[in-house]
């Protein structure tokens, strides 16, 4: 079974993240970057299916040159090869444009499954699986906490608020996974060394057949109009217990509609 995993490089979730004042795009340059955490679960799931059934795992990433570090991590975990779509023209693309560009690359790849993380920690759109499904005309199975792929069929347990639903589709299909699905492995030392010689194809928009006019900030169908930084943390309120501490806490919780 051949699997493509979409992997995104994002600013470290624990770092101070901000938007550029000028074009209101995400400041990716001044922060530490990591693989989007949920994408590690997507890679792990693909590797487990591959280890059980054979086939190849391809990493697909759209992002600046620096995203190679994240691609290498996915390769060192055990993926076989990678495609990196990287072009200045893509800067500032929104989710709809990104799905167009990634869709173009996916059309050139042979796969049974595309696995994506359920959302990225930078934009938090959580739409890529659905957008690609629409673009490629392939079924989507979202929010998977378990995946079983056999023959031409893929079945998932789709996490819901109350339990889970079993959803089935024919391949090729697009799956988004959530954290409950597995425990991602660490790259091994040998995996890190092996990753350096694994095939990595870098594509420009031209190479990928992406129309330059349809991507990038200027052409984006959605625009960030305005933003403001998170207000600084306020000092907490101290409740002194004078025999009525419990009542005061209950009143506070009620005033904030916690109870």
């Amino acid at each position: 079974m051949n699997i493509v995993v979409l992997v995104k490089q994002v600013p470290d979730t624990w770092a101070e993240r901000k938007l550029n004042e000028g074009d209101k795009t995400l400041d990716r340059a001044s922060v530490d970057v990591v693989m989007n955490e949920i994408d590690e679960y997507a890679v792990e799931e693909a590797l487990r299916i591959k280890e059980a059934q054979g086939g190849e795992v391809t990493i697909l990433t759209m992002g600046p040159e620096r995203a190679v570090e994240t691609i290498r991590k996915a390769l060192s975990m055990g993926a076989d090869k990678a495609v990196h779509l990287s072009d200045e023209a893509l800067k500032g693309s929104d989710a709809v444009q990104t799905s167009y560009a990634l869709g173009k690359v996916l059309e050139t790849l042979e796969y049974d499954l595309v696995i994506v993380g359920s959302e990225a920690t930078d934009s938090r759109m959580a739409t890529m699986g659905a957008l690609l499904s629409e673009r490629l005309g392939q079924p989507q199975l979202t929010g998977a906490r378990k995946v079983t792929a056999e023959g031409g069929t893929v079945t998932i347990e789709r996490q819901t608020d109350d339990g889970y639903a079993v959803v089935e589709a024919s391949t090729p299909a697009i799956i988004s996974v959530m954290e409950k699905i597995n425990e991602p492995r660490y790259p091994s030392f040998k995996g890190i060394m092996a990753a350096k010689s694994k095939p990595l194809t870098t594509l420009s928009v031209g190479d990928a057949g992406v129309d330059e006019g349809q991507v990038g900030l200027a052409a984006a169908p959605s625009q960030v109009v305005e933003f403001s930084n998170k207000p600084p943390r306020q000092a907490g309120q101290i409740v002194k217990d004078e025999g009525d501490g419990g009542t005061k806490i209950a009143e506070y919780l009620a005033s904030q509609k916690f109870v």
Partner: protein, 382 residues
């Protein structure tokens, strides 16, 4: 504090250290304090390290190891020691336990057992000391008598790291007359009938790393598990220890580094008389001395490691490194408690744990008195 500035020989060593720091940050540090206080052995964490390839780093790739020079392996060990001494000592002991088989085993023995040892599935133990023979290791009395296809072993080995948890035990036993020439090395499986691990010792520190006596009551070890020839055991044991000593030196530097980092961050936070105590020269100079001694200890173990990697004799330098690094760890962790003041004396901070961990490092893998003996003899009897 920023990570230690290291001079590493290859990009692959850089990648290895980065992987190690990642593991320490996410897998080791979050567990160390809790499990240490519960005296809980982190067997799963050893598996994680094994899968990452960290349990056979210093051995050749064709045997399933990582093919890394000691210079690199030791710096990995130091980083692990910075996270958790008990774990790092375990890795050092495991590496030492693989040595007799890797260096002295027959091709058949190596093919049979070595890949699993170096691949991280199995965990090793090394049994030299006995209740009455520590520094005077050649006085050991555990006896092995050949009986058909087996050796029958009777006696007791003391202070065995991983005792009761290990998958294999290197037993130094007496097969011949008194003295070093009568000692042999047996590579015993944990399921050996009559090999009986006793309850773990209750220790002052490194409580997560089990230490136990191994009773041997008519233990039958197949004769094909004899490493090298009868009478070679003492030589094997001592050559393994040279490398092991460097491992302890590296772990000691790691513990000292952790204590320094804690001291610096505390001294920058803690305010007295309206300013951070780090801005008082009395404290700042202590920190400077701690950092200087650590850097010197690191340089010393690396010097010995580079000699070893070049195939040159390094015994005295290994002893110097072990002696200096562990004395440094004791001094630095003592000073760390002083920097933290009362906070250094309570379990809310790791300073007291580092202090307890440092103490044993002056004792095991050859006491620091034995190290001085080795260094002294190299000067006066060479």
């Amino acid at each position: 504090m920023r990570p230690v500035v290291r001079s590493l020989p290859t990009p692959e060593a850089e990648a290895l250290l980065e992987l190690t720091r990642d593991l320490v940050e996410h897998e080791v540090l979050p567990r160390a304090g809790e499990m240490e206080s519960r005296s809980e052995f982190p067997r799963e964490l050893f598996r994680t390290l094994g899968k990452a390839g960290l349990l056979g780093l210093a051995y050749p790739e064709q045997d399933g190891g990582g093919g890394q020079p000691y210079e690199v392996y030791l710096q990995v060990l130091e980083e692990l020691g910075r996270g958790w001494a008990g774990l790092a000592v375990g890795v050092s002991v495991h590496t030492l336990s693989c040595f007799p088989l890797a260096q002295w085993g027959s091709d058949e023995q190596r093919e049979r057992w070595l890949p699993d040892l170096l691949g991280g599935e199995l965990l090793g133990a090394y049994c030299l000391s006995e209740a009455a023979s520590g520094s005077d290791a050649a006085a050991l009395t555990t006896r092995a008598v050949r009986d058909g296809d087996d050796y029958v072993v009777d006696g007791a080995k003391a202070w065995v790291t991983h005792g009761g948890h290990a998958d294999f035990y290197n037993l130094m036993v007496r097969t011949g007359g008194p003295g070093p020439a009568g000692i042999s090395c047996l590579f015993a499986d944990k399921h050996t009938p009559g090999l009986l691990p006793q309850p773990p010792e209750k220790k002052m520190g490194m409580r997560s790393s089990p230490t136990a006596t191994i009773l041997l009551e008519g233990a039958r070890v197949p004769a094909d598990r004899l490493i090298a020839a009868e009478g070679e055991g003492f030589r094997i044991a001592m050559s393994a220890l040279d490398g092991g000593r460097l491992g302890i030196a590296a772990v000691a530097v790691g513990v000292a580094q952790a204590a320094l980092e804690l001291s610096v961050s505390y001294a920058k936070e803690r305010k007295q008389f309206g300013k951070a105590i780090a801005s008082f020269q009395g404290v700042e100079f202590m920190l400077a001395d701690m950092a200087t001694q650590i850097e010197a200890a690191r340089a010393l173990y690396l010097t010995a490691a580079r000699l070893k990697d070049a195939g040159r004799p390094y015994g005295p330098q290994a002893s110097m490194a072990k002696l200096f690094a562990t004395d440094t760890a004791m001094k630095v962790t003592t000073d760390a408690i002083q920097v933290l003041g009362g906070a250094g004396f309570v379990e809310d901070f790791a300073a007291e744990r580092y202090f307890r961990e440092a103490k044993v490092m002056q004792i095991f893998e050859g006491t620091n008195q034995v190290q001085r003996l080795v260094v002294g003899r190299s000067l006066t009897r060479g």
